[in-house]
Structure formats: C-alpha cells, structure tokens
C-alpha cells in the first residue's frame, strides 16, 4: 500500500510538472548571421535605426564567422573586444573591415525590405565604402560613437527616409 502510494505521488508530481512545461526548456537559439533576418515593418526612424543596427551586426558577424551576439558583446566594452580578439584571433583591422561590410549589408537589407529607397541607398553605400580603415577602427573602439554614426548618417536623411517609409 505504501509502495503504491509512493508510486502514485511520484507519478502525479512528475506528470504535473511535465504538463506544465517542465521539460520544454530550450535556450533561445542564436540565429545564423549569414541568413537574412526579416525586417519587420518599420514605422519610425528609430525603428529603422534599430533594424539597420541588427542587419549591420549580422553582416559583420557573418563576415567574421561568429554569432551576432558575440560580436555585439565585443563591441560593447574594450574588455569585451579584448576577450573577443583573444578567443577568435580577430584583430582590430579585421574587425573594422567586417563592421564596414556589415553596414553595407544593412543598406542592402533595408533596400530589399523596401525600407530604404534606391535613391538613398546608392549614396549611403558610397559613403560607407569610403570610410577610411583608421576611422572604422576608431568606430569599433567606441561602440557609442559607432551607433551615433549609424543614427548620424540616417539622421540628416531622416525626413527624406520617413517619406519613403512603407
């Protein structure tokens, strides 16, 4: 009787926990940065800047063969960048080139998603291609400055971009 009671109590507990999702935990999977990330329908300049930043990180991470998340942490702090360089053997020059490539992909993604008109995409690409390497390195040394620049070059065009928003 006692044994049956123990079996019933154990099965009830485990069954209840499994039914409540106890075995369903899967950590959120990190997406392959080389796969295109769908652009949600951006309504404001801030939302465009957000998606642009994510696309740029994807592009740079894809070029470096790392995850977008690992790259974002590397760009967040100088210590993060040092750890990243040590772990993946990627120096500042390679990182800066990848960030530049990432920004170009962001323009491509924005254009493909219809969030950026080709009229704007062409000069933006040109501007990005012409960022000197030293300046690009300087940008990755200061993530805040990098993002300000993203907003910076979207900023002046903001009113025009907003006219092209879907």
């Amino acid at each position: 009787m006692l044994v049956i009671g123990a079996i019933v109590a154990s099965l009830l507990l485990v069954g209840a926990y499994l039914a409540a999702g106890g075995s369903s935990y899967e950590p959120e999977q990190v997406q392959n940065p080389c796969k295109p990330r769908p652009w949600s329908n951006p309504q404001t300049l801030g939302q465009i800047a957000n998606q642009f930043t994510n696309s740029a990180l994807d592009g740079a991470a894809c070029k470096l063969g790392v995850s977008r998340e690992a790259l974002a942490r590397a760009l967040a702090t100088p210590e993060g960048r040092e750890r990243f360089a040590k772990k993946y053997g990627i120096d500042d020059e390679k990182l800066a080139k990848a960030v530049r490539a990432g920004l170009l992909r962001a323009v491509d993604d924005a254009e493909e998603a219809g969030a950026l008109s080709p009229i704007l995409a062409v000069p933006l690409r040109e501007t990005l291609r012409n960022i000197p390497l030293e300046e690009a390195i300087e940008l990755i040394h200061n993530g805040r400055k990098l993002l300000s620049n993203v907003e910076g070059f979207l900023g002046p065009a903001g009113s025009i971009i907003e006219q092209f928003l879907p």
Binding site: L2, V14, Y17, E28, V30, R68, R144, L147
Partner: protein, 402 residues
C-alpha cells in the same frame, strides 16, 4: 567518515563504547574548533578529517550505548537510524542559517559545546568501563555485513546527496537566493522527514518502507529535474517527497542492515560507511556533469540574453548602454548566474522607453533563470535513476528479526 566508521566501531568494541564515544566526542569537539579557526583550506580539510575520526567513533559507539537507554537493540537501531536520517536532512538548512546569520565558522564553533554536552552523560559509562576493564569476549565476534542493504544505502545516499547539495546550489548559485533564504526553503525536507518518521511507526515491513522511500526520493528528484519555472513554491512538492522518502528509506535500510546482526556497532559502522561512500560517489559522479551543464547553460543564456537585447525595440544607443552594463555584471559574477536588475538602473524617464526596458529586463532575467534551472536537470535525473536502481538491492534484501 566512510573509511573510518568500521575501524572506529572495532575500536569501540575493544575499548568499550562509553570510552570510545567520550574520546570520539572530545576529538570531534577539538577538531571542530580547529575547523572554525582554520585560515586556509588545507587546514580546514585536515581538521575535517580528524573530526570524521572522532565522529565515526562517537556515532558507532552510540549504537552500543543506546539499548541501555531505549530498552532493546531493535528500538536502539530504529532511534539511531531515525537520528541519522533527520540529521542528513537538517544539516544543509541549519548550516545555511548559521552561515548567513553569523558565519560559516559558526557551524563548527557550535559543534564544540554540543559535542561536549553530549559527552557528559557518557563519562559515567566510560568511568565504569575504565574501572572494570572488561569487554565481554562473545561480543567481539563480528558477522558479515548485510551486502544488499548496505549497497542500497550507498545508492540512495548518493541520490539524497544530490537532492540536498544540488538543490542548495541551484537556489544560491542559480537563483541567487541568500544562504538563509535557501536554508529556509530546504527546511521543507527535514520537516517532511519528521512526517516520514511518523509513517515508519505504521508500517512494520522494512522492505516496503525502503522501496516506498526510494521511489519517493526518485520522484522528488525527477520533480526537481522538471521544474516548469524558477519559482521557490514549485520546489516544495518535490522536497516533501524527498524528505518523506529519505526518512523512510534510510531508517528502513539501516534497520535491515542491523537486523539480527551483532555486534551492532560494527554493522552500524558499515551502514555509516555505505552512506558516506554513497554521498562521496554521488558527488564525484554528478559534480562534473552539472559543472559542465551549468557552463554550457550559462553560455547559452548569455547568448540568448544578448539576442533578447538586440531584438528588443529599445533605442540602439540605450541598448548599447544596457549591453555594456550587462556585460560588466556577467564579468563581476563570473561562475554565477548574475542578477541583471542593477544593469537596468536608472530606468529611462520616457514612459514608453521605460516600459520597453522593464519588459526587456524581465525577458533577460527569465532567460538566465531558466538556463540556470535547466543546468541542474541532468544531474537530478541521474540522481533519480540512482534512487530507482536502489530498488534492486532493496528487493534482494531480507530483514532478519532480532
């Protein structure tokens, strides 16, 4: 303790249980003081080893002394086994409270007066033994230890060690509870063990009690492996099962191992050895598994957390600030699942941004908490399996009436 218990019991037989218990308690108290005063790990470990020698002598000799107090060997075995089960369940809770309220050293300092007070009534027996100097020759004979009961004890003890130690680790390292809160949470187990001790009185068949206990311990461990959420309340039902189960199984198996065997101290020594060997083997087997799992889960949770930040609708500059602070916290609390709340302070003034950041904070902490909880799952499942495997030796064990 696993190595010292049987030799200590043999010594107790040779010099008399009163003297062995008195000397054992004195050594235990002295070594406890040394533990509390230890300023480096090697000293602490050495003092703990000495303490185990004293403890082994006192605990095994106590089994020889108990029949005179409680009336019969069978009753003595029951009381002794119940005391061991309650102690096993109570230890982590009491240790956590003392660590938080005073210090970890206080655990050892408290043992000194407790051991000395316990030695006082034994001194009279020790003096009597010293005066007479006679150990009855027939008591020196020792029979074979009860293989199946001791094997089952070792397996169940490995499972119980997982329940006690892994749960405390999950609460403190994984869910970032303070030691005192963790101690209060795990006190459900000793309280449930008291309930299990009451059940013991109603079921005479030791094998049924042992089997039911092992099943309950395994069921509780499986419950801990499948926690649906990182919530204290959800740990309570599994703890009740483990607590009731450990009380039933430890006392039943100890009684079985001692049943019809003489001298009791030697066979009590075997049960102590089996239990402690089980704890050691359980921790040795499970620690590398959960350490590797927690590293992997931490890595996954950090990636998932970063993805949550990046995919959030928060302004990119604000995101970068958050990423910086979260990275700092991850570094500060290396090896632990961090509390990321402070990384989100101060919250933005803008109500819309504030709401977004609040939501982001919740999602990120949820990722970290779920990752930490899941990191212990494999170890809990393996421990549950150990408890179930113990059913085989339990089925093969036979109780011999005293």
């Amino acid at each position: 303790m696993a190595l010292a218990a049987v030799p200590a019991a043999l010594l107790a037989r040779r010099v008399g249980p009163g003297r062995a218990a008195a000397v054992g308690l004195a050594i235990f108290a002295g070594a406890g003081l040394a533990c509390g005063l230890a300023d480096e790990l090697s000293t602490l470990i050495l003092a703990r080893c000495v303490q185990a020698l004293g403890g082994a002598a006192a605990v095994t000799a106590a089994l020889e002394l108990l029949p005179a107090t409680v009336g019969s060997e069978r009753r003595a075995a029951t009381v002794w086994a119940a005391a061991g089960a309650t102690g096993a369940a109570l230890g982590p809770a009491l240790g956590g409270i003392l660590t938080e309220l005073v210090s970890w050293q206080s655990i050892f300092f408290l043992q000194v007066p407790v051991a000395l007070i316990a030695a006082v009534p034994i001194l009279a027996v020790a003096r009597h033994e010293a005066a007479t100097g006679v150990i009855e020759p027939e008591l020196r004979r020792t029979g074979r230890p009860h293989l199946w009961a001791n094997l089952a004890l070792a397996m169940v003890s490995a499972a119980i060690a997982a329940a006690l130690f892994l749960l405390v680790l999950l609460l403190i390292e994984g869910w970032r509870l303070s030691p005192i809160t963790a101690a209060i949470v795990v006190s459900v187990m000793p309280l449930s063990a008291l309930l299990g001790a009451r059940l013991t009185e109603y079921v005479a068949d030791a094998r049924s009690r042992a089997a039911a206990g092992a099943i309950l311990v395994s069921g509780g461990l499986a419950g801990l492996a499948f926690l649906p959420k990182a919530t204290i309340a959800l740990t309570i039902p599994p703890q009740i099962l483990v607590g009731v189960g450990l009380s039933l199984v430890l006392s039943a198996l100890t009684e079985t191992a001692l049943g019809g065997r003489a001298p009791q101290a030697i066979h009590g020594g075997w049960t102590i050895s089996a239990r402690h060997a089980g704890v050691v083997i359980g921790l040795l087997a499970l620690t590398p598994i959960f350490t590797a799992d927690i590293d992997q889960q931490r890595h996954d949770a950090i990636n998932a957390g970063t993805a949550v930040i990046l995919d959030s609708p928060v302004n990119p500059l604000l995101k970068l600030g958050l990423a910086e602070k979260v990275s700092e916290r991850l570094e500060e609390e290396k090896g632990k699942v961090p509390t990321i709340g402070p990384a989100f302070e101060p919250l933005p003034d803008n109500p819309a941004e504030r709401a977004e950041v609040e939501q982001l904070k919740g999602e990120l902490q949820d990722q970290l908490d779920r990752g930490a909880t899941h990191a212990f799952s494999t170890s809990f499942i393996l421990a549950a399996l150990l408890g179930l495997i113990a059913l085989f030796p339990i089925a093969l064990s036979k109780e011999v009436e005293l």
